[in-house]
């Protein structure tokens, strides 16, 4: 057993930590959240230079051959910085799915472009009414002489407004399949909006969108397993991001308990608040353990073991994040609920992580169902 990061991992962590402190300060981030893109294209370029856009890809395709633990480390730092860049949707999720399910030609065309920061992807899978279930897809793909015609609607596609291509799930004769669709494809309309945490997403409608024969990703009818794997990978990454945010919130709150004075003393002198802060730290350490477990299992070839660990982690981390987020706000008093301070923004991001790709109840249920099988 070894819980230590390697030299390279520590170096990358350090680089990201310095970048966040120097080039991604909170006021800069606020301006980005209010900008048209909603994120920093220059930062994206920097991420490419750092190699983190290439991290999870094989060397043959311009990647660094990193594993999910490397991704965890990156996500924790991006969490601390409240980074708005669509790293999870483009690199972790879609990049991961192309890596795992794409053809040789697709990998050659897409992975180096993602790694170099020239191309962004987004997963258009969930639909209104399906909630978090991964097999509830009504979008159709009708085979024709030139490939397929796609019709349907997708809900709250994260990172959609900046995506060059979408990975779209649709039902064809064979079952559930995945297709690559250009963002500008005729028949595809997009209604973009900011999300509660300052990021960007869109609802997407497809009416008679034609894709060619090379658009199919993986075997026809085989998409569900790829989607499950991709979403697991993304959820493991989100757990790490949450842990990064929780650590930051704990540091900020601890500092506040030491400096904010009421009744002639720092509020941290009140035992009620000391215990609360201790609970937050306990929750964060436990969450960190679960996020680590999820990262280690996310690369597992055993799909059942992977899914089970990620479901457990996402349920647990979301519960911990709820406690830490709510209490960080509470212990800041009025300052906790204002837009001006970063605390509220960390809290909002934590809350949205908990509602992305399955909430705590969904993941607890998924884990709980595995008890029947055991």
């Amino acid at each position: 057993m070894n819980f230590n990061y390697t030299e390279e991992q520590l170096a990358l962590q350090d680089t990201l930590r310095r970048f966040i402190a120097k080039d991604y300060a909170f006021e800069h981030r606020r301006a980005l959240a209010n900008s048209a893109d909603g994120f920093d294209r220059a930062a994206w370029k920097t991420f490419a230079d750092f190699g983190i856009l290439a991290l999870p890809f094989p060397e043959d395709f311009g990647g660094l051959n990193g594993n999910a633990v490397d991704t965890m480390l990156v996500m924790e730092m991006l969490g601390r910085g409240l980074a708005l860049e669509p790293y999870v949707s483009s690199v972790v999720l879609c990049g991961g799915m192309i890596r795992d399910a794409g053809s040789q030609a697709q990998k050659e065309a897409l992975l180096p472009a993602i790694a170099g920061g020239e191309m962004m992807l987004a997963l258009a899978h969930h639909e209104a009414g399906g909630r978090y279930a991964l097999d509830r897809v009504a979008t159709t793909a009708a085979a024709n002489g030139n490939g397929w015609q796609l019709d349907g609607a997708k809900a709250v596609v994260l990172g959609a407004p900046s995506a060059d291509k979408f990975l779209v799930s649709a039902r064809d004769g064979q079952g559930l399949s995945l297709f690559l669709v250009d963002a500008g494809a005729p028949g595809l309309t997009l209604r973009g909006y900011p999300t509660q945490d300052g990021a960007r997403a869109a609802d997407i409608k497809m009416a008679g969108v034609q894709v060619g024969p090379d658009a199919l990703v993986g075997a026809a009818g085989d998409a569900l397993a790829s989607i499950e794997r991709g979403i697991d990978y993304a959820n493991a990454a989100l757990c790490a991001e949450a842990v990064g945010i929780m650590s930051a919130l704990n540091e900020i709150t601890l500092e506040y308990l030491k400096t904010r004075k009421q009744f002639g003393q720092p509020i941290g002198k009140f035992q009620a608040l000391q215990h609360r802060m201790a609970d937050m730290v306990i929750a964060t350490e436990q969450a960190r353990s679960m996020a680590t477990l999820a990262a280690v299992r996310a690369d597992s070839a055993d799909a059942a073991a992977r899914s089970r660990a990620v479901a457990a982690a996402k349920a647990y981390v979301t519960q911990s994040a709820r406690l830490v987020g709510q209490q960080a706000v509470q212990l800041h008093g009025g300052m906790g609920v204002v837009d001006e301070l970063n605390v509220g923004h960390y809290f909002k991001r934590l809350t949205m992580i908990g509602l992305t790709f399955g909430d705590a109840d969904y993941h607890l249920g998924k884990f709980s169902d595995t008890l029947l099988a055991a």
Partner: protein, 406 residues
């Protein structure tokens, strides 16, 4: 022991219902029920309608134009108003400053201010908290010093108040100010009524984390306040403020509004589908709704117990109000959280335009997401309820000290 309302109370409830269905403007109740952004005039218009009916101040005694209703009637009224989607009657004038003016103000102040509160003419805000003085209010440092002059004696006020709810609309602010730094902190505080149009007052918005403008900073720079606007005696303001805190307790639990929001939560859980079935059929989520309903059932009875005891004048409303504040705020927070959670993916979009009363929805999004677009914002906004009005930690201190003697 009888948990039923009496025939007279039932009849009273019917009367309130009939009034609400006849007089509550539909465009206002639509906003309240749809969680839309409220404007100043929504509150003012409703206050004027209530006043015409003679119901402008349910908790005031009749000699000031109040209804003279007993606490159970007041409770029924608040419950029916919430259910119908009436705007909440803001407490600052009616429930906060007015009782102080009645108890400690002079006749001139009573005649000058009370009629304009009950008829909706004056909008009041509360100027207690300061950046350095929140939970520890007695440490406040906004200064008022008395000067004599030819045009009448007045105070000159300097300092800053903060977190002033809806102060952007206010005509008047009631303030605790420091008039002496001798002796105990509490013994140097006075209660001043200040016209918001007085030169030297600056109001700056504070945006909350839901992106909305609900609170403000109020700055005072050499603001001249006639001594006629002092309530009671100089340096006795703390006593008046404490009277105010212990005075008005009906409504603090927010039972009526929480019942309405619970209903809304159930509706949402019926509309949202989870894996092909209504979310309400999901045992895990339904249990969460059930759990908050249990909390609310208990609070409703606890609230009525406190209210009845108050009505029978067995004892003054005391520290048990802290129980109502804590549980009431926790239930409100749970409800907003579950409403957000019910939405699934549609908890994510941030659409401030959806708070506009005339927002037509977005053809891209499923119809029910239109009405839901504000719910995550409510969750974020409602974190305030365990912070303001004496934080829940302070309420627990009150329970441990005043009830338990610890």
């Amino acid at each position: 022991m009888d948990l039923n309302f009496t025939a007279e109370e039932q009849a009273f409830r019917e009367e309130v219902r009939a009034f609400l269905s006849a007089r509550l403007p539909a465009e206002i109740s639509r906003k309240v029920l749809g969680g839309k952004r409220m404007e100043k005039n929504d509150f003012v218009a409703w206050q004027k309608i209530l006043h015409q009916q003679g119901w402008g101040a349910v908790a005031w005694p009749t000699n000031y134009g109040g209804t003279g209703w007993n606490p159970v009637q007041q409770h029924i009224f608040e419950e029916e108003c919430a259910d119908a989607g009436a705007p909440m009657q803001l407490p600052f004038g009616l429930k906060m400053v007015a009782p102080v003016i009645m108890a400690f103000g002079n006749a001139a102040q009573q005649q000058r201010f009370l009629p304009r509160i009950i008829d909706g003419t004056d909008w009041w805000c509360q100027g207690y908290s300061e950046p350095g003085s929140g939970s520890d209010l007695a440490s406040l440092s906004t200064r008022a010093h008395r000067v004599e002059s030819a045009d009448g004696d007045h105070y000159v006020v300097n300092g800053q108040k903060t977190w002033n709810t809806l102060g952007q609309y206010a005509d008047w602010i009631f303030c605790l100010v420091r008039t002496s730094s001798e002796g105990r902190q509490q013994a140097g505080i006075s209660f001043l009524l200040i016209d918001m149009k007085t030169p030297g007052i600056t109001v700056r918005p504070i945006i909350m984390m839901d992106g909305e403008h609900e609170i403000n900073e109020v700055w005072f720079e050499d603001v001249r306040v006639p001594t006629a606007n002092l309530i009671g005696e100089e340096n006795k303001g703390w006593t008046y403020a404490k009277f105010l805190l212990g005075h008005e307790r009906t409504g603090i639990a927010g039972v009526g509004r929480s019942k309405r929001e619970l209903q809304k939560l159930k509706e949402l859980a019926k509309q949202e589908s989870a894996d092909g079935r209504p979310l309400i059929e999901d045992q895990r989520f339904r249990d969460r709704i059930a759990q908050v309903e249990l909390e609310l059932m208990a609070l409703e009875i606890t609230n009525l117990r406190v209210i009845s005891a108050e009505g029978e004048k067995q004892r003054a409303p005391g520290p048990e109000a802290s129980i109502l504040k804590i549980k009431g705020s926790e239930i409100q927070q749970m409800l907003t959280e579950l409403q957000m959670q019910a939405l699934g993916h549609y908890a994510l979009p941030y659409l401030p335009e959806a708070l506009d009363a005339d927002w037509k929805g977005d053809p891209m999004m499923p119809a029910y997401a239109d009405d839901a677009a504000s719910l995550s914002g409510h969750y974020f906004n409602y974190r305030k309820t365990s912070i303001y009005g004496g934080s829940n930690e302070i309420q627990k201190n009150i329970i441990s000290q005043m009830i338990l003697g610890l």
